[in-house]
């Protein structure tokens, strides 16, 4: 593992994460993220060949409740906090482009 993190990598990651970075931010984050990833190289000193990964401390399994109707959050109270809502729904700008 080596942190050959490039400016293009950071730009790609920012796109994936839906963030816009200025040129100065790209430079700064490339340097800072590279530094953090370099530090992570100390994991290479460990023999991890036969080690099983742990994603969760206590091996969580799915938890299900009885399939009965229970009260949920009041729709109007939830929508009252939305940036835009109409007719009992969240409202967003155009999702699909014009037909070609």
């Amino acid at each position: 593992m080596s942190a050959d993190l490039t400016r293009d990598d950071v730009a790609k990651v920012a796109r994936l994460a839906r963030l816009t970075l200025s040129d100065d931010e790209l430079d700064l984050f490339t340097e800072q993220l590279g530094h953090i990833l370099d530090h992570a190289a100390d994991m290479n000193a460990l023999d991890l060949t036969d080690v099983v990964a742990t994603a969760h401390p206590f091996g969580v399994t799915n938890v299900v409740r009885d399939d009965v109707v229970t009260p949920s959050l009041d729709r109007d109270a939830v929508l009252a906090m939305a940036p835009d809502a109409r007719d009992g729904r969240f409202c967003v700008p155009r999702i699909l482009g014009e037909a070609p």
Partner: protein, 474 residues
């Protein structure tokens, strides 16, 4: 300020009232909040109604609960109905949750009076509260220094005697580190002991809610109220809450304590000296103290700073301008989301989202996130082996005492290294607490950390109580 236990006893007996205690708390907040920037929102009307309700229960002859009339501060990443909840982020500014976190319901049912929401590093990402979008919180013990973070506002609220109790969250040390820097007791409970329903998620396999208090007894009292199974959190342990207050004075006779080299080496000399003195104090009280080395802990910082950002990059995907908080208008939905997130998140949050996105991305997943999960396994196994030999582990909470503003903001890695002693136990899911012991540089408090296996909180409180007494706080 009187202890939470004393306030609750006085309110229950009628010697005081919840309204009187609230007025004292609000006066203390008014006196210093402008200077220290502790509370982002003080819920005067809601607190007055809650206090009046407690007093009405007393008047009717009902028991208002073990926290009767105790003013309590709430970290601003916990949802409370109708009370602004920002996570110290512009992306949530103005949002008022339509539901309560389970911990809010529990403390209110126990008679506590939530007085307001405290400042934090944005989305709990930081170790100094300098990452708040609403300005840093100052350390009440020395306002030129940070209170620690991310729960810096909750720590400062107790340290400034604005409230006797506060709620925080701890993903990599965010309760214990500010507790240490502000001279308080702070507890990261066993993963699953306290419900996270209503906690805005940062890294879900690590986050835990826990108490801040000025004393071990008060911290045990609050955690006993918080703990217990909650069907609304699927990671909540399905078992009865443990008895904690009853064990605070159990002492440490016969307790096997491991002084862990990797949990204090490299700290400032005054911190190391305090840890060694704490080991001596435990020995003098009847504990059997041995020196241990757990070399696997050396790589936990790296693992944490891949795992936590990876989970954060996923959790924070929900802040997209659709259902709550900020929206920056645009003609199409993708541009709207990108503009909203770019304007709404601060630099550290962006850094961690990108780090996590990178660690999870095709081609890098195995090298970074996958490796980190294996280090997590090694960490869990290493702790388990240590707990075959000893009951409790002892180390430092932080490498230094509270540091001046701006000294670590330029270099993210320098800030992350603050968490080197607190992170291992989050990866393992085990409990740990910080208790003040001795003083360090500039007369500032030092926090000593006690760690134990899952569900060992009662034993940790008993050991912390021994240190509290040895440090002159009977």
């Amino acid at each position: 300020m009187r202890s939470a236990r004393q306030i609750a006893a006085d309110v229950r007996s009628g010697a005081s009232s919840a309204v009187v205690e609230l007025e004292a708390s609000l006066a203390a907040i008014a006196a210093r909040n402008d200077e220290l920037n502790v509370f982002l929102h003080v819920d005067v009307e809601g607190a007055q109604a809650a206090a009046a309700a407690v007093d009405a229960r007393v008047a009717r002859g009902e028991d208002p609960g073990p926290l009767a009339g105790v003013p309590l501060a709430v970290k601003d990443n916990l949802c409370q109905v109708g009370v602004p909840t920002t996570c110290s982020s512009k992306i949530l500014e103005g949002w008022r949750p339509p539901y309560n976190a389970t911990v809010i319901d529990r403390v209110v049912a126990a008679g506590a009076v939530p007085v307001g929401k405290t400042n934090l590093d944005e989305f709990a990402m930081g170790s100094s509260t300098e990452n708040s979008a609403f300005g840093p919180t100052r350390n009440p013990l020395d306002p030129t220094r940070v209170p620690g973070g991310s729960s810096g506002g909750s720590a400062a609220a107790v340290a400034a005697a604005m409230v006797p109790l506060a709620l925080g969250s701890d993903t990599g040390g965010s309760i214990r580190q500010p507790a240490a820097l502000c001279g308080l007791v702070g507890v990261k409970p066993t993963y699953g002991l306290v419900s996270r329903y209503g906690l805005v998620a940062f890294a879900s396999s690590l986050d835990q809610i826990g108490p801040f208090a000025a004393s071990v007894g008060d911290a045990a009292l609050l955690l006993e109220v918080l703990a217990g199974h909650d069907p609304r959190d699927s990671t909540s342990l399905p078992e009865p809450a443990p008895s904690l207050v009853a064990h605070v004075d159990d002492g440490v006779a016969g307790t096997r304590v491991g002084l862990v080299r990797e949990l204090y080496e490299g700290a400032d000399e005054s911190v190391t000296t305090a840890v060694r003195a704490a080991a001596d104090a435990l020995r003098a009280a009847g504990a059997e103290v041995v020196e241990l080395s757990i070399p696997e802990l050396g790589a936990t910082l790296s693992a944490y700073y891949l795992i936590a950002p990876a989970e954060a990059s996923s959790n924070l995907a929900r802040f997209d301008g659709v259902r709550y908080g900020l929206r920056v208008a645009a003609d199409d939905v993708t541009t709207m989301m990108e503009a909203t997130r770019t304007a709404g998140f601060g630099a550290e949050v962006k850094r961690r989202i990108m780090l996590g996105t990178y660690a999870l991305s095709a081609g890098y997943y195995d090298a970074y996130y996958g490796q980190a999960l294996k280090v997590r396994t090694l960490t869990i196994n290493a702790f388990a082996r240590a707990y075959e030999r000893v009951d409790v582990l002892l180390g430092a909470t932080t490498p230094t005492v509270a540091f001046p503003f701006g000294t670590k903001t330029a270099d993210p890695m320098a800030m992350y290294l603050n968490d080197v002693f607190t992170i291992p136990t989050n990866l393992a899911g085990d409990p740990a607490l910080s208790v003040p012991f001795a003083t360090g540089e500039a007369g500032l408090p030092v926090g000593v950390q006690l760690l134990g296996p899952g569900r060992s909180e009662a034993r940790l409180f008993a050991a912390a109580r021994v240190l509290e007494i040895a440090d002159g706080r009977p």
